[in-house]
């Protein structure tokens, strides 16, 4: 055999391997093929190909492996069990950039399924290797490495801590400043995942000066980047007052309100989440946001969107109103109450309804003015209905009861209280009767209205144990009216009169 023929044998084998690996990589893009591939034992075939001499076969094998691991949990576990990870991590340090991208892709695909798999990636030194990749020149490699780190950090705090300990955060902040859009997005998303777990991690991220860079990217035209930036800022500011103040000092606020009209709905949702996380700490921070017109923008946003997207906006209104009665009045003046009423009636999900009921309670419980504003929007019967409805979840019932009680204790607007006399259970009725007994002694027009609208009749029909607070309130109400009227409206009065008629002897 001549030399050429021998070399030809090798070339044929190489071509065959190349074709195999490329076909597997193509097949792995379809989910329906994965099962078949798994049953055919593709993992054990790919593993030696990853150590192949030819670089392009190595890269394609790594790519195929990554695609397989991405699709399902078991394959990712198989990757870990077959000890492929250590050799990937070792070769990450030495190979060219295409291999690094493919290897980072495999690590990401493994780490995304569960915390245990991420722990396995960390345990074989994956984090240090990925951090080394972050120092490369090629933006594609940086992006793949940052993405893998983001998926690892997503699961829980110790994993994020291991990433921070490996010194990834300054490198990620440098990645934020690169011109490539995809790299910026991924870096912002990874910073968001790291800082969401504990205040210390968020503080570490802030100490590297991330806030200033994130703040510069707020008005970028790219929607996905804005999503990640706002998500990162809200995860940082949710932990404590000082972090929220630092985010506010970066002067995001009047500009971020403009993003509330962005066409992308998740950008809007993330801006509202950021506002909520800032507002919940102190009244001063709430004032900053209210003063720059954020409240009006959020209320308009609530009108435009549906479903779960509304939740951060509703909670933001509740937090603002909870701080003081000034701010609650500001919410009312910005037309917040009709919008909340709409949300309450439109949304089918119970957790959103519960949040709305809580917000309404926070708005209405300060003074009679606030309670009147809530009552005129016809919210009291709705809250009562939510409380009484057997199909409401426990949380919803509890929140609507609390809201109703707190509003009722300040409500002096009698036309809104009257419908509640009819359907309410006794623990709510007690508060309603209490309010009537406070208002009626002083207002004669109200007394007249009370009689003519049938309220007095209803009060007489209420049965209460003598000595209970409800009975005392009923007595107090009865004492506001002359005895004949009270007797006239008491139940069974017509029978009493008829009895008197029977026993009457005309003189």
């Amino acid at each position: 055999m001549s030399q050429r023929q021998i070399i030809q044998v090798f070339e044929q084998y190489q071509k065959a391997r190349m074709q195999f690996v490329q076909t597997i990589a193509d097949l792995a893009t379809r989910p329906q093929n994965i099962e078949i591939l798994q049953n055919a034992g593709v993992m054990s075939m790919l593993r030696p190909l990853m150590l192949d001499v030819v670089p392009s076969i190595q890269q394609t094998a790594a790519l195929a492996l990554g695609r397989l691991a991405e699709h399902s949990d078991d394959l990712a576990e198989a990757v870990v069990k077959e000890d492929i990870l250590p050799q990937l991590v070792n070769s990450l340090a030495s190979q060219n950039r295409f291999y690094k991208k493919a290897a980072a892709f495999v690590l990401r695909a493994v780490a995304k399924h569960s915390p245990e798999l991420s722990q396995a990636v960390v345990a074989c030194g994956g984090v240090d290797a990925l951090v080394l990749c972050l120092e490369e020149f090629d933006p594609g490699v940086k992006e793949a490495a940052a993405w893998a780190l983001g998926y690892i950090a997503r699961h829980n705090a110790p994993l994020s801590q291991s990433i921070v300990d490996a010194g990834a955060v300054p490198l990620l902040v440098l990645c934020l400043r690169e011109p490539e859009m995809a790299l910026k997005r991924i870096a912002a998303s990874t910073l968001s995942d790291i800082s969401k777990h504990t205040p210390e991690l968020a503080q570490t991220v802030v100490d590297t000066g991330a806030i200033a860079h994130l703040a510069q990217m707020i008005l970028n035209p790219d929607a996905k980047l804005k999503r990640q930036v706002f998500s990162a800022l809200s995860q940082i500011s949710k932990h404590s007052v000082s972090l929220a103040e630092m985010v506010i000092e970066a002067e995001i606020f009047p500009a971020a309100v403009a993003c509330l009209r962005d066409p992308d709905e998740y950008v809007r949702k993330n801006v509202t989440t950021l506002m909520r996380e800032v507002v919940k700490h102190t009244p001063e921070l709430s004032k900053v946001i209210v003063n720059c017109g954020g409240m009006a923008a959020v209320i308009d946003y609530l009108g435009d969107c549906h479903g779960n997207l509304r939740l951060p906006g509703i909670m933001m209104l509740g937090y603002v109103a909870a701080h003081s009665e000034n701010l609650a009045m500001a919410v009312i003046l910005s037309k917040g109450v009709p919008q909340l009423a709409l949300c309450l009636s439109e949304e089918p999900e119970h957790h959103i309804k519960a949040a709305t009921a809580w917000s309404i309670g926070q708005i209405g419980h300060h003074t009679p003015e606030h309670a009147k504003a809530v009552a005129t929007a016809n919210l009291l019967p709705k809250l009562l209905q939510l409380y009484m409805d057997a199909s409401s979840s426990e949380d919803l019932q509890l929140k609507s009861k609390k809201a109703l009680k707190s509003i009722l204790q300040k409500c002096t607007y009698l036309p809104a209280l009257e419908p509640l006399l009819y359907d309410a259970p006794s623990n709510i009725l007690k508060h309603v009767a209490c309010q009537f007994s406070k208002v009626l002694p002083h207002d004669s027009k109200a007394r007249r209205l009370f009689v003519t609208s049938g309220g007095l009749k209803k009060v007489q029909e209420i049965e209460a144990e003598p000595g209970s607070p409800l009975q005392e309130y009923i007595n107090a109400i009865n004492s506001c009216f002359p005895e004949e009227i009270v007797r006239y409206y008491s139940p069974g009065y017509s029978e009493v009169l008829l009895e008197r008629l029977e026993t009457y002897q005309p003189a």
Partner: protein, 297 residues
């Protein structure tokens, strides 16, 4: 007698006793007087002291009650002052009604302003986007018109878009008439060999790593900027028109006797021409000679 003696002695004893007792009493009188005076004065002192202390106690009670009364009156005065001060201070600075009212009015104005501005901003952005979309559509149509240029209708034969049954030509037909034809350029294939270093959307990264990228391993090509086609009709260099040279080759230069040339001028001229053709023509007329022979007459 004895009784008399006894009585006398008793009388004498009695006198003596009487004298003794008197003298003793006289002696003690002073002392006892003094003692009595002392006791009496002490008693009187006690009485006076008791009276004084009684008076003191009563005086203290009266003073106590009086002082309490004045202090309470002062206290009430002070409370009045403090009450008024606190009310003033709170109403002016902390729960300032007018400040709150103006703040809320200011807030509603600001809300209106912000809502209006946001509406305008949204309108502006929407118009920009619509504009961009329309431009994109238009360029796509123009590109299609360039590709379909061959469907332009001629005088003899109406094109596909200019059916005789239509009242007026289709817009594509009009576009075709406006578009100027140029030779089709090969566009760089989009999703294929170019996205290694510049993934433009993160999600497309794994999909762009398909088998195509392996073929271009080693060539790190960005998407090439498409240069305009070369439209110069003039040929570079010292070329003459093709027809001229052909004529020259075919038709000899006219020979006249007016020329003052040597006898062997023709051979020399031909030799010179052969030498130039051998050496210089490589540099000056590389394709020109082949062109001149391949041009049809």
């Amino acid at each position: 007698m004895a009784e008399q003696l006894k009585i006398k002695s008793e009388a004498e004893e009695f006198q003596k006793e009487y004298f003794l007792r008197n003298s003793q009493a006289e002696e003690n009188r002073q002392r006892e007087n003094q003692a009595a005076i002392r006791i009496q004065s002490w008693f009187r002192a006690c009485k006076v002291r008791a009276y004084l202390s009684h008076l003191h106690k009563k005086a203290i009670i009266i003073q106590k009650i009086w002082r309490g009364f004045t202090a309470r009156a002062r206290f009430r005065q002070m409370v009045k002052i403090q009450r008024r001060w606190r009310g003033f201070f709170l109403r002016k600075y902390i729960h300032n009604f007018y400040a709150r009212k103006s703040y809320l009015e200011e807030l509603s104005r600001k809300n209106e302003l912000v809502r209006r501005e946001l509406d305008e901003l949204e309108e502006l952005q929407r118009r920009e986007r619509n504009c961009l979309e329309m431009i994109k559509e238009q360029t796509a149509k123009v590109y299609q018109a360039h590709r379909l240029h061959h469907l332009l209708s001629t005088k003899q034969c109406p094109g596909v878009f200019n059916s005789p049954f239509r009242p007026a030509p289709h817009e594509t037909e009009l576009l075709l008439r406006q578009v100027k034809y140029h030779a089709p350029t090969r566009l760089a294939p989009r999703g294929k060999a170019c996205l290694l270093g510049m993934p433009d959307s993160a999600a497309s990264f794994p999909s762009s790593l398909g088998s195509p990228w392996i073929k271009t391993t080693g060539t790190f090509c960005f998407s090439k900027p498409i240069l305009p086609p070369i439209v110069s009709k003039k040929q570079q260099g010292l070329f003459r028109e093709p027809g001229e040279v052909w004529e020259q080759r075919v038709h000899c230069p006219d020979l006249t006797l007016h020329l003052q040339t040597s006898y062997t001028h023709l051979e020399e001229a031909q030799n010179q021409l052969r030498q130039h053709k051998g050496t210089g023509s490589m540099f000056h007329h590389p394709s020109h000679s082949s062109n001149s022979f391949t041009q049809p007459a």
